[in-house]
């Protein structure tokens, strides 16, 4: 029951009420973590946002959950942390101390052989790691800048989500060396869903690349 209520609150962007529900008992924090697997994409993303807000309040029982989320990205007994990377990034963005040990591992999934090689990749998890890089670009430029070259390579990836998320993240990083790769995407009509500022937007990769180039151009000025 609480799962449905929490989902509804997230869809309605009633974050304060959702926070109150999560505060009510520890089990609801577990339910919130469970929503990271929701069939509904927007619920998954909003659960990511809410975890960030919970982190900002400094709730202590979230710290073990961060370790758990990290573990779910490389579980030997087969949990798939579909949104773990995004959740850890959002927790870090709101409360760096709570996810300091985990964040580098999340960002470096993008150059991890097991995750990134086409032969054995998990596209949603790789895309989640790329989103995490983009999401931290403003607040932690030094932390994410070393991931630029890996993302530039992904601009040629056969999978739209990987190309598109990389274009979006590189734009947020204002990564000048990505210009050529981004220009090559300006006629790419593949659609991707990007979650930014609480909104899930459907955009073409061409649009994401153009926006990224614009960000880089402004930065150069």
């Amino acid at each position: 029951m609480d799962r449905e209520i929490l989902s509804e609150l997230l869809l309605a962007r009633k974050y304060q009420e959702a926070m109150d529900l999560v505060k009510k008992r520890h089990r609801n924090l577990r339910i919130l973590l469970g929503l990271l697997y929701s069939e509904e994409e927007l619920v998954r993303w909003r659960a990511v946002t809410l975890l960030g807000l919970v982190a900002a309040e400094g709730r202590t029982d979230l710290a073990p959950a961060v370790r758990r989320l990290l573990w779910f990205l490389n579980e030997e007994s087969s949990t798939v942390g579909w949104c773990s990377a995004q959740a850890i990034a959002e927790i870090y963005r709101n409360n760096p101390g709570m996810a300091r040990d985990a964040i580098r591992a999340v960002l470096h999934l993008s150059d991890d052989e097991e995750v990134s090689l086409p032969a054995n990749r998990n596209t949603p998890i790789l895309a989640g790691s790329i989103w995490a890089i983009g999401a931290l670009a403003d607040s932690e430029p030094a932390l994410v800048s070393e991931m630029g070259p890996a993302l530039v390579k992904f601009l040629e990836d056969p999978e739209p989500a990987i190309r598109g998320f990389s274009a979006w993240a590189l734009g947020r990083m204002r990564f000048g060396a990505a210009k050529k790769g981004l220009e090559a995407l300006l006629e790419d009509d593949s659609l991707i869903n990007i979650y930014e500022a609480d909104i899930l937007k459907k955009v073409t990769i061409a649009r994401a690349a153009a926006d990224a180039l614009e960000n880089i151009r402004k930065n150069d000025e």
Binding site: R3, R25, H26, R27, R30, I31, L33, G34, L35, L36, Y37, S38, E39, D61, P64, A65, R67, R68, W71, F72, L73, N74, E75, E76, S77, S78, T79, V80, G81, W82, E114, V115, A119, N120, N122, P124, I125
Partner: protein
């Protein structure tokens, strides 16, 4: 000469051979053909050619698929992926033949055709498929009323003995409880959020035919709290029949010595019976579990990974186990609440209890300590010393 001389040797022993099964499927399935090649290579190189784990799954679920990749995809492209799908088995593994045909057909269509009926978790284990087949498999299974089982840090697929369906010793309806818990804990089963795995296994009587005491974090074993039902005429029949030597085979093997036999009358000191089931198993027509039936709840068994193997120990010596099982579910909620908050990453509940002490655990979940919780003679870890210290 055979292409697989080393694994061919595995067919020569007295037991049924999995190689023979794979060869049979290899005639019509390219995955099985490459699987034989990969296994031969492993025997030749004296090391596995499966990589460690892999992250795959279906959307909406965090578990149920176990990723497997080979480290030589160019040489054996048909087993470059060889993922396992766990399918939630029906309670007590009752199938009709059309279900089994459906599952086998599904697996020949989308996978290797090889199955493991059943894995030690209890699930049906469908061996070997590729990532791009997973969503289709999941959709097909769902449309036919099946569901994936658990994997990773979630509630694993609950499993039970066949209880009241076939066994006169069952002290509660294991199949109903298994079905009920499976439905009640769908979120916990499919969306991993625990420190590590949590297994429920249910046995209808202390014979514990699913070995729940050794294989589950929460073992629910049927028991009774009144006297063993005794049919003295049937006892006399056993004595007269001569196949059972009551003094030697029954009374002589009672672990607590709570029985006596004077040649005509069997006496049982029920207060000292520890429900070992031996006498009932030997003379099932004469002795039966009591009438006031329920279950005991034990906690903490696990195989060795982080720490050594543990057997479960008693948490609740007797609980009525009747639908809707609210009392039991309230207990589980308290246990999970505490483990979820205080368990370390990859720490099974039994390991956490060892770490913090059962006394503390029992106190935290609000249970009164009782002598049945004592794990072994002359060890009493459940004495609470607060009052002693308070007096000082």
């Amino acid at each position: 000469m055979s292409d697989t001389p080393l694994i061919d040797q595995l067919e020569t022993g007295p037991w049924p051979s999995f190689i023979k099964d794979i060869k049979r499927m290899a005639a019509k399935n390219a995955m099985c053909k490459d699987l034989l090649g990969l296994l031969e290579k492993s025997y030749k190189d004296k090391r596995t050619h499966w990589k460690h784990g892999g992250i795959v799954g279906v959307r909406g679920y965090g578990g149920g698929i176990i990723g497997r990749y080979s480290d030589c995809p160019e040489e054996f492209p048909n087993v470059s992926h060889f993922h396992t799908v766990r399918v939630n088995q029906p309670s007590a593994w009752f199938y009709n033949t059309s279900s089994l045909r459906y599952l086998c057909d599904l697996w020949e269509k989308h996978g290797s055709g090889l199955t493991n009926m059943h894995g030690s978790t209890g699930d049906m284990v469908m061996l070997g498929t590729k990532t791009d087949q997973l969503e289709d498999i999941f959709t097909d299974l769902s449309e036919h009323g099946w569901d994936l089982g658990g994997s990773g840090s979630d509630v694993r697929t609950p499993s039970c003995c066949n209880g009241m369906a076939r066994c006169e010793f069952a002290c509660y309806d294991t199949m109903d409880l298994c079905y009920n818990l499976t439905n009640e804990y769908q979120d916990e089963l499919h969306r991993p959020a625990f420190p590590y795995k949590f297994k429920f296994k249910m046995s209808g009587c202390p014979n514990d035919c699913v070995a729940s005491i050794a294989r589950s974090d929460c073992s629910i074993i049927g028991t009774w709290r009144d006297d063993i039902q005794q049919d003295n005429a049937a006892v006399a029949e056993y004595a007269k029949g001569g196949k059972v030597d009551i003094a030697k085979d029954v009374v002589g093997k009672c672990p607590t010595g709570c029985m006596s036999w004077d040649g005509t009358k069997l006496s049982i000191d029920n207060k000292n019976c520890n429900r070992c089931m031996h006498c009932i198993n030997v003379m099932p027509k004469a002795l039966r579990p009591g009438k006031d039936k329920g279950a005991m709840v034990l906690l903490g068994a696990k195989a060795p990974i982080v720490q050594g193997a543990l057997l479960a120990s008693v948490l609740v010596p007797f609980i009525k186990m009747e639908p809707p099982y609210d009392e039991f579910k309230e207990l589980i909620a308290k246990i999970w609440e505490f483990w979820d908050e205080h368990g370390e990453n990859r720490e099974r509940i039994g390991e956490m209890i060892v770490r913090i002490g059962k006394g503390n655990f029992v106190e935290e979940i609000g249970l009164e300590p009782v002598p049945s919780m004592i794990k072994e003679p002359r060890s009493n870890p459940y004495i609470f010393y607060e009052e002693y210290f308070d007096e000082e």
